[in-house]
Structures are given as structure tokens and as C-alpha cells.
Amino acid sequence: MKLKSQRDFWSGLMFVLIGLAFAWASTAYDFGSSAQPGPGMLPFALGLLLALLGGLVLFKSLAIESERGEPVSEIAWRPVLLVPVAICVFGYGMPRLGLLCTVPVVTVLGMLAAGETRWRWAVLAALTATVVAWAVLIQGLHLALPVWPTVVR
């Protein structure tokens, strides 16, 4: 079967799956009564509603013709992978390695995500970012952030 709209197909599918997942997960909790809804009632009802709306979108994507099939445009894998990785590295690094080691790594990852492949620039940016972050946040605002790795502290 040919998809009439790729975008609608995938968003519809996403809604149905998320909705059903919420509805299914909420069956483990008390539904309560109508006067005193339990913790399971709202997620169950909203999950079913979302799945229903997703079903409508899905139906539309299979039945109703759209302009040029509304394809999902190409995914930019480099930033899609590197930006979340950079964010996670920040979260993992800060409490363990401290600001002075984490910020340069995150900066270089960000530069890579931006398609900057000249190392000289990446190193320069990493140094600048670290010095600025240290000067503003630690020296200027006296924020309680770890500066050095736990081994040194």
C-alpha cells in the first residue's frame, strides 16, 4: 500500500504507540471512582484519546491524497547524533570531571556537530569557552559547580 503522506503516517503511528503505551501502563494503577479519580484514570483516558487521534492521522495518511506525498526530508545525522551526545557528556562529566575538563570536550563535540573540522578552530573555541565559563560562573557568580575532577579534589 502506498503512503499518501509520509509525515502523517509517522506522526500517526507515534501517537498510537505512545497513547497505547500510556493506557497499558496505567492499567496497573487504581482507577478510583468518578467522584474521586484514581491515579490510573487520567493517563488511561488520555492515552486512549491520543491513540484515537493518532488513528485518525494514520487513516488520513493512507486514504487522503496530499501534495507530493509529503515526504519526510533527509535526517541530518551529524547534529542529530552529536548534539544529544554532547548534552549527555556534559551531564555525565560535570559531577565527575568538573567544569575545566567537561566544557572543552562538550565544546569540541558541538563544533563537530556544526561541521567544523579544522582542529585549530575547535581547540581555540574549547579554550575560550572554558575560560569564559570559569570566569563568569565560578569567579563572577560564585556558583556551586565542581571545577576539578573528583580525583584531584
Partner: protein, 489 residues
């Protein structure tokens, strides 16, 4: 006179040094956000959200509202000077094309100055409407019981989905998804989700970090999107410009003030409606550009009215304002004006002061924006990324950072599927309040769901929501809605 004493109370609060500084800083930051390539006001507000707990309540709100209002003027500069991008994909918006044509004729700086005046006039008009309507609306809101508040929030959510771009059912789905996200963490589930999802990681992830991915992805497609002509600095609008524009500005102010009260993408709706109005009146190019400009500014001010009086945000930026109030332990809604009159009226006065700043900057610096506009997004991708990380980490620690990474990915894929993120954020912000009012209404009515239909005011609000859905689905309005949101491109 009640009005005058209120305003003097507001001015008294707004003219203290910290508040004055916040108003100026917010407006300038907003201005910069609007001018710079592809930064949006909602991104800037999300980035500043982690600062809110450290600031005084009034200062924090003034700062955020300043960005909300200032970004509009910057966006006007960007629109005047850039080639409407990507023809054929969304269709070139006639308004942007016309504005750009004026710049090519060497009238860019003059139009920016005229735009600053038009914006100021419109902002005054919009603020006047707020000042006049806020007390009666607040009084009305006090008469609302839990059932009415719930129905009003349903109307707000449905309206924001109906008047947002993209598919209606998809936007409704996003709103429901936002509501569902508030349910996570109510009962112990997994370790990661035990404490629920915070608004700061969600907003920063979806908007700021998600946008970093979106924009870097765009840059990777290696296409020069905008052609920025040089501004001819030092030009002022002529007398004939003024004569041509002033009726259009007044018409635009009126249109914008009223349409700004609607939920959804109401500023855009205001600009497009005003443009259509000027076209029908066969107005010249200057009036055709200034009417929508005024409408947009007026609408930006009046979008604040439903938030400040009823507690119902209508856009992503105003939803983040509600989040900021919640962080400060304030309840958006009628209690704001009666419980904290100096804060409420101080906020209004600060918005006016911010607009004076924008007028002054707009008149004096109209010749330098072209240099800012050519900065590519790649230059500030890394600083924005670091700001996201530090902001989230300071507020929520390691766990919040991982949530942000997930939200950033979600933001990117929603963008790819053309799913609207604003209804999701609105659902997320309104969710807890809706649930509380739902529970209270049901409790009072002994579990009778009919309570929402048997109380006339509540029934009226729900019927309005239903009517809105039916209207949007009508073929004629549907095609018009699509042309309106093509402007978003």
C-alpha cells in the same frame, strides 16, 4: 480614579533601578533575538528560565516579558531585509516579498524607523486595551468555579491547536501528548521518571537544544538561504510616507489588539489579516508594510491579557511565562492582579517602558541591523548549546540533563514531521491545573460528569471549543487557514 492610581502604582514599581534595568535588558535581548538569524523568542525565554529562581519575582517577569515584546521589532528588521527564502516549498509570502522590495529600493532604513514608530503606536494601543479589559476580566474570572476553569482551559488548548499551523488533528494530538507528559511520575515508575518531567529541561530541550539540531541540519544542506541587501543608513521616512501609513497603522493596531486575544499563532494571524485589509483598501506599499507591522506589535501586547487575567497562555512564549510564575510560587490568573497589584501594574508599566526603549533604539540604530543579520547560525550553535547545558544542570542536575537530550531529539523529529510543539508545551503547562480543577469539579458534583454541561458558563465555553473545531474543518476556512500559515515558512 481607579485607573490612574493603578498606573501610578505600576510606574512606582517599574521605575526602581532593578526593574528598570530588567526592562531595558529584556527589550534589548529580545531585539537581538529577533534580528539574529533563526533564534526565536521562545528559545531565548527558555534559556533564561533557569535564572528565574535566582532573581526577584518582578525583575524575572519583566525580563521575560521584555524579550517577548522586543523580539517582534527585531523580527520586523529581519523580514524587511531578507530575501523570502525557499520559494516553491511554502510559497513566498506576499507580505515578506513586498517588504523586501521596499528595501531593495533603498528604503530599508526609512521603513525600519517608520516601523519603530508604528510598533510603538500599536503597543500603546494594545496596552491600553489590556489596562481597560484587565479589571473586568479579572472580576469575571473570580466568578468561575472549578468546572468553568476546566472548560476554559479546554477551550484554550483546542483554540491553540485550531489556530496553529499544521494539521488540526495532529496539533490536538500534540496537546494531549503534553497533558500525558504531566502524568509521568505521579506514581513511582522507573527510577529515571520517578520525579516526573521538569518544565526547564523540557522547554530547553524542545526549543533551544532542538533548534540547535534543526538549524545545524539546515546548514548541512548547504544552501544560502538569505540574501541581505545593504541598508542605506541615515534615511528617514518622508512626509508622504507618514501620510500614507498613519491610517494603516491605526487600522492595524485595532485589528492586532483584537486578534491578539485569540489563542494560537495570533500574531501571525493579525499581520496577515491586516495585510489583507490593506490590500483590499488598495493601499500603497508603505501602508501595506506598516499596517501588518502595527498589527503584529499590538497583538504581541494583547496576547498577555489572557495569561495575566485568566491564567490561560495562548502561545509557547506565554506558556513559559506561566512556568516562570509557577517557579516563583505565583499563580497565573485573577489572583495575580488582586493579590499582587503592584507586580501586575508594574509589569504593564515595564512593558510600556520597554517599548519606549525599542522606539529609541529603532529610530537611532536602524542602519546597523544588516551587519547582524548576516551572522550565520553556526556561530552561536556552540554558545547556545553550552547555555542549555549549564542552565539545565544548575536547576536539575545530571538527571535533568539526560531529559534535555531526549527532549532535544523529540524537538528535532517533531520538526521533521511538521508536528506543532507549541500545543504540546501548552498542554504540559496547563495539565496540572486542569487536573486539579477537574478533580475539584467532580468532587463537588459527586462524580457527575454532567456538571460541565449543566453549568451554563461551562457549557458555553465547551460549545465554543466545539464550534472552533467544526469551523476549522469547514473546507472554505480550511483552505484559508492553510494560506495564512504559509507565512510561517
Amino acid at each position: 480614579m481607579d485607573l490612574l492610581s493603578n498606573l501610578s502604582l505600576g510606574l512606582h514599581m517599574a521605575l526602581a533601578w532593578p526593574q528598570l534595568l530588567a526592562a531595558v535588558a529584556g527589550s534589548l535581548l529580545g531585539l537581538l533575538t529577533g534580528v539574529l538569524h533563526r533564534l526565536r523568542p521562545v528559545t531565548m525565554i527558555a534559556l533564561l528560565l533557569p535564572l528565574v529562581p535566582m532573581l526577584d519575582t518582578g525583575v524575572a517577569l519583566i525580563l521575560l516579558v521584555g524579550i517577548h515584546c522586543g523580539a517582534r521589532y527585531g523580527a520586523a528588521a529581519a523580514m524587511l531585509m531578507t530575501q523570502p527564502a525557499e520559494p516553491g516549498v511554502f510559497g513566498v509570502s506576499p507580505l515578506a516579498a513586498q517588504a523586501h522590495a521596499l528595501t531593495i529600493q533603498g528604503r530599508g532604513a526609512a521603513m525600519l524607523r517608520l516601523g519603530a514608530v508604528a510598533g510603538f503606536v500599536a503597543a500603546c494601543g494594545g496596552l491600553l486595551l489590556i489596562v481597560l479589559l484587565a479589571p473586568p476580566l479579572t472580576e469575571l474570572a473570580f466568578r468561575f468555579g472549578a468546572a468553568e476553569v476546566f472548560s476554559l482551559m479546554v477551550l484554550g488548548l483546542v483554540g491553540s491547536a485550531a489556530l496553529a499551523g499544521g494539521s488540526l488533528v495532529g496539533s490536538l494530538g500534540m496537546a494531549v501528548l503534553g497533558l500525558l507528559l504531566t502524568q509521568i511520575g505521579r506514581v513511582p515508575q522507573s527510577d529515571l521518571l520517578k520525579q516526573g518531567i521538569g518544565v526547564i529541561p523540557l522547554a530547553i530541550g524542545l526549543f533551544a537544544a532542538g533548534e540547535v539540531i534543526i538549524n545545524l541540519g539546515r546548514a548541512a544542506q548547504a544552501r544560502r538561504e538569505r540574501i541581505v541587501p545593504e541598508l542605506v543608513a541615515g534615511r528617514w521616512p518622508t512626509r508622504s510616507d507618514l501620510r500614507e501609513a498613519w491610517t494603516a497603522v491605526l487600522r492595524g493596531t485595532l485589528t492586532g489588539s483584537v486578534l491578539g486575544l485569540l489563542p494560537g499563532a495570533s500574531t501571525m494571524l493579525a499581520a496577515v489579516s491586516s495585510y489583507g485589509l490593506e490590500r483590499r483598501a488598495a493601499a500603497g506599499p508603505v501602508a501595506g508594510a506598516m499596517g501588518p507591522e502595527a498589527a503584529r506589535h499590538a497583538a504581541v501586547q494583547t496576547t498577555l491579557l489572557p495569561v495575566l487575567t485568566l491564567g490561560i497562555p495562548s502561545s509557547a512564549t506565554t506558556a513559559l511565562l506561566v512556568a516562570a510564575m509557577t517557579i516563583k510560587g505565583l499563580q497565573a490568573g485573577p489572583l495575580l492582579m488582586t493579590g499582587q497589584p503592584s507586580l501586575f501594574w508594574g509589569l504593564i508599566a515595564s512593558i510600556w517602558i520597554g517599548n519606549v526603549v525599542l522606539l529609541a533604539v529603532g529610530l537611532s540604530l536602524a542602519g546597523v541591523w544588516d551587519r547582524l543579520l548576516t551572522i550565520s547560525y553556526r556561530r552561536f550553535a556552540v554558545p547556545v548549546l553550552l547555555l542549555c547545558c549549564f542552565g539545565v544542570y544548575l536547576g536539575g542536575g545530571e538527571r535533568a540533563i539526560y531529559l534535555t537530550a531526549v527532549a532535544a531529539l523529540m524537538g528535532y523529529f517533531f520538526h521533521k514531521l511538521r508536528a506543532q510543539v507549541a500545543p504540546l508545551l501548552l498542554g504540559f503547562i496547563l495539565g496540572p491545573m486542569m487536573e486539579e480543577n477537574l478533580r475539584r469539579a467532580l468532587q463537588l458534583a459527586d462524580g457527575e460528569w454532567s456538571v460541565f454541561a449543566s453549568r451554563p458558563l461551562s457549557l458555553g465555553l465547551l460549545m465554543t471549543a466545539l464550534l472552533l473545531l467544526v469551523l476549522v474543518l469547514l473546507p472554505k476556512i480550511r483552505s484559508r487557514r492553510q494560506t495564512v500559515f504559509r507565512e510561517e515558512g
